[in-house]
Subunit: 135 residues, 2 copies
């Protein structure tokens, strides 16, 4: 039996990692809510349903591609519901589901921690940058 190559060892390690984390629900949740546009989209329809065009304006700077992609993944995860009304032209509304609403306290918790501690973080950064300054 030949000695394992670095690549092989790394592959095994990777499997362990996957076994430990890939299945961890917190990882998937973080990946979802930390998406660049998710927070803005959810916030935009927190209080009432919104049409696609409304979201497009309210979430300023988002391209149609990203807006649709964001809405689709939120819909797939059951956080947002999509309603199509067959008018001419067609009308589409999006709104938070109960599951989507249940996520809001968590978002608020994140906001709270950040508001309470981001000053410390910024001070730490300044100190680190000052101390580490090279030239």
């Amino acid at each position: 039996m030949a000695t394992k190559t670095a690549a092989q060892r790394r592959e095994e390690a990777k499997l362990e990692y996957d076994a430990f984390m890939a299945g961890c629900p917190s990882r998937q949740l973080l990946d979802r809510i930390s998406d660049k546009w998710v927070g803005l989209v959810l916030a935009a329809m927190a209080d009432r349903p919104r049409r696609y065009g409304e979201l497009s304006k309210e979430v300023a700077g988002v391209s149609p591609k990203m807006l649709t992609q964001t809405l689709r993944s939120l819909e797939r995860d059951g956080l947002v519901a999509r309603y199509v009304t067959a008018e001419v032209p067609v009308r589409v509304d999006y709104e938070l589901t109960d599951l989507g609403h249940s996520l809001m306290p968590l978002m608020r918790a994140i906001k709270s921690w950040a508001e309470a501690h981001m000053d410390d973080v910024h001070v730490a950064r300044s100190e680190y940058d000052r101390t580490t300054a090279s030239a």
Copy 2:
């Protein structure tokens, strides 16, 4: 005065977006904690300080480049402290700061929501995929 081009309008929109979100602390916090390795690294030293080599093994699959990069950003943000002991060979320990520890309840909250609701998410995904199935 010429009509604004699409690019110009988009640029203005982008600035509005930046003004609204770039300064939002929750955005920065999410970006930090949702990093691929941050969760694992923080978890690895949650109960006691760890040496670089220990982290390298415990956080299986991480390359030295990413481990160092992760540790540096956590150190810069004041979530982790780095201690160098001048032995031969050199010894370096990392541990959570008070600020780092204060983040743990939030991580647990995320984990809790995920554990409580990821089943719903998975059901929603299955339903969505089933309904949307094309070929």
